[in-house]
Subunit: 314 residues, 2 copies
C-alpha cells in the first residue's frame, strides 16, 4: 500500500491505486503538523510505503478532478501568501534602508548642484568658499549674504553676485530648506541601519562599521548568502565590473570592492591595500558566519586583531 | 589732432602723439557718461579726429606705463564685476527654476521608486492600486494599512504584506513625508515660474502655457535667443538628438521638440501633429519677438487662432 501526502491531507492507496483511507487537513496549521497525521494513519495500516514514480504519476491525476482542485488551488495560494509574508525579515529591511541611503545621496547630489548654480548668481563667493555640500546648505540657511561676505572679508561692492529681491530668493531658500531636510532624513536612515545591525549582525558591525557592513549584506543579497561566501568573494564584493573586465580582457584583478571604504584600508598606503583587504575579508567571513548562526559576540576580538596588525603600518 | 578715450578718461594727442590734454574719469559712472566728457574736450580743441590704426597702436603703448596700468586694471575689473552682476536677469532666474523643477522630478522619481519597493513589503496591494506616485504618497500618509485594505476590499488575512513593528515603519513613513514635501516644493517652483513669465513673456505664456514656454526659453538659452530663432528651429527645439540622427543617418526628421507637450498637440491625433507643430511654432516665434521687444499683449489672439483652427480636428 502507498502513503501519499500533499497540502490537502494524507492518503492511502492500495496496489491498484484505489483510495482506501484519508485524513484531510482543515487548515494550514494542520499541514504544518502533517507528521502527526502521518503517524496516525500509519498506526491504522501496515506495510505503508512511499509510491514509486510511475504510481505517483497516476496518483497526481487523481487530484486533478473538480472535487479537489479548487481546494488545492486555494490552499496553495494561502501557503504562498504566508511564505511571502514570512520572507520579510530584518535583512530585507536592512537592504531597503541601505538602498534608500544610497538613493538619498543621489537625489541630494542632483539638487544641491542646482542649488549651488542658482545661489551663485546671488552670492558666488560664499558658495565657492564652502566645498562640503551639507555645510554649504546649513551656512546659507543660517546667514544672510552680507554676513557671509563679511566672514570672507569681501566688501559687498566687490562681490560679483547680483542683487535679488525677496521674491526671487524665496525659491532658492526653500530649496535649501528641503535639502537640509533630506540630509536629516539620510542621518535618520543611517541610524536605523545601525540599529538593525545591532540585532541582526553585531559581529559584522563590529568588524566593519555599519555602512560598509550594510553594503556587504546588500551586495550579497542577504545575511545568509554573505555567510556562505568564501572570504575571497567578500573581498571583491561590489567590484564585479572590474572582476568581469579582468576575466574578459586579462586586466588586473580587483583587490577590493565595497570594503575599500573601511577605515583600515582607506587610511593605509596603497601598496598594502591588497594585504589588508585579504585579512579583513577573512575576518568578515568569520563574523558573517557567527552572525548567521547567532553565535556569541567575538566582533571586538576580530576587530582588535586587525587594528593591531595593520594600524601601525605607515 | 587725435581724440582717444578708454576706461580711464578722454585724451587728446597731437600729430607727434604727445599728450596735450586729458579729462580723467573719477569712477565708473563717469565712464558710462563718457559722451559728456568727449563733448567737453571737443569744445576745447578743433579738428579732433579718431586715430588711424598705426597711431592707435602707439597710443596704446602710452597706457602701459606704471602710472596708468594699475588704475587701468582695477577699473576694468570693476566694470567686469558690474557686467557680471547685471547679466543676471529674469530669464536667468527662469532657467534656473525650470531646471530645478526638472531635477526635482528626477530626484522624486528615484526616491518614490525606493519608497514603493520598501512599502510593498508591508502592503503591496495598496501600492499597486495607486499608479500615480504623488497620490500614492498622499494615500499612505493619510491612512493606515487596515483602512487601505478595507478600501480595496482585501481582508487583512489575504494580504501578502508582512506585519511590521512601529520602529520599522517609521523610516518608511519618514521617507513618504519627505517625498510629500518635495512634491510641494515642485508645485511652489512651478508657481514661481508662472509668475516670472507673467512679467517676462506674457505672450509666450498665453500661447503655450507656462511649462512648455519655460522649457523653450531654457532650451534656447534666453528670451533674446528664442526671439531670434526662426519658427522652424523653435518647432524642433528639444529634439536635437533626433535632428542630428536625421542629418547623420537620413532617418526621419523630427516634427516637434518640447512643444509635443502642448495640449493642442498632445490631444490631437498623430497624423496632424506635424501640421499643428508648424503652426504653433510660428505663433510662438511671433510671441517671443513681441515679448523680447516688450510690445503689447497679443498672446490671447494668437492662442485663439490656434484653438479655432485645430481643436475641432479629431
Amino acid at each position: 500500500m502507498h502513503l501519499f501526502s500533499n497540502i490537502l491531507g494524507v492518503f492511502v492507496f492500495d496496489e491498484e491505486l484505489n483510495l482506501i483511507d484519508k485524513l484531510l487537513f482543515n487548515d494550514i496549521e494542520n499541514y504544518k503538523n502533517k507528521n502527526q497525521f502521518i503517524e496516525e494513519i500509519k498506526s491504522r495500516h501496515q506495510n505503508l510505503k512511499a509510491p514509486i514514480d510511475s504510481a505517483l504519476k497516476n496518483m497526481l491525476q487523481y487530484f486533478k478532478n473538480a472535487e479537489f482542485f479548487s481546494d488545492f488551488y486555494y490552499k496553495n495560494l494561502q501557503l504562498t501568501r504566508i511564505d511571502t509574508k514570512n520572507s520579510v525579515n530584518d535583512d530585507t529591511l536592512l537592504i531597503q534602508a541601505v538602498k534608500s541611503v544610497e538613493e538619498l545621496d543621489k537625489a541630494a547630489n542632483i539638487l544641491v548642484k542646482r542649488l549651488r548654480e542658482w545661489y551663485e548668481l546671488y552670492n558666488p563667493e560664499a558658495s565657492r568658499a564652502v566645498e562640503n555640500h551639507e555645510k554649504f546648505v546649513e551656512k546659507i540657511l543660517e546667514k544672510e549674504k552680507s554676513e557671509l561676505l563679511e566672514e570672507l572679508k569681501v566688501s559687498p561692492g566687490d562681490s560679483i553676485g547680483c542683487e535679488m529681491e525677496q521674491g526671487d530668493l524665496e525659491p532658492i531658500r526653500s530649496m535649501a530648506h528641503h535639502l537640509y531636510d533630506l540630509y536629516q532624513l539620510r542621518k535618520a536612515q543611517s541610524d536605523y541601519i545601525s540599529m538593525l545591525m545591532d540585532g541582526l549582525c553585531p559581529n559584522i558591525k563590529a568588524v566593519c562599521d555599519s555602512s560598509v557592513g550594510a553594503k556587504l549584506i546588500e551586495h550579497a543579497g542577504s545575511l545568509k548568502r554573505l555567510s556562505q561566501m568564501p572570504a575571497s568573494t567578500i573581498q571583491i564584493l561590489g567590484a564585479e565590473k572590474a572582476l568581469f573586465r579582468h576575466m574578459k580582457t586579462g586586466s588586473k584583478s580587483p583587490k577590493h570592492g565595497v570594503i575599500i571604504s573601511h577605515p583600515l584600508i582607506a587610511k593605509a598606503p596603497g601598496k598594502i591595500h591588497g594585504k589588508i583587504a585579504r585579512a579583513l575579508a577573512d575576518k568578515i567571513s568569520i563574523a558573517a558566519k557567527v552572525d548567521y548562526f547567532q553565535g556569541r559576540f567575538i566582533g571586538d576580538k576580530l576587530r582588535n586583531y586587525l587594528e593591531n596588525k595593520f594600524s601601525s603600518i605607515k
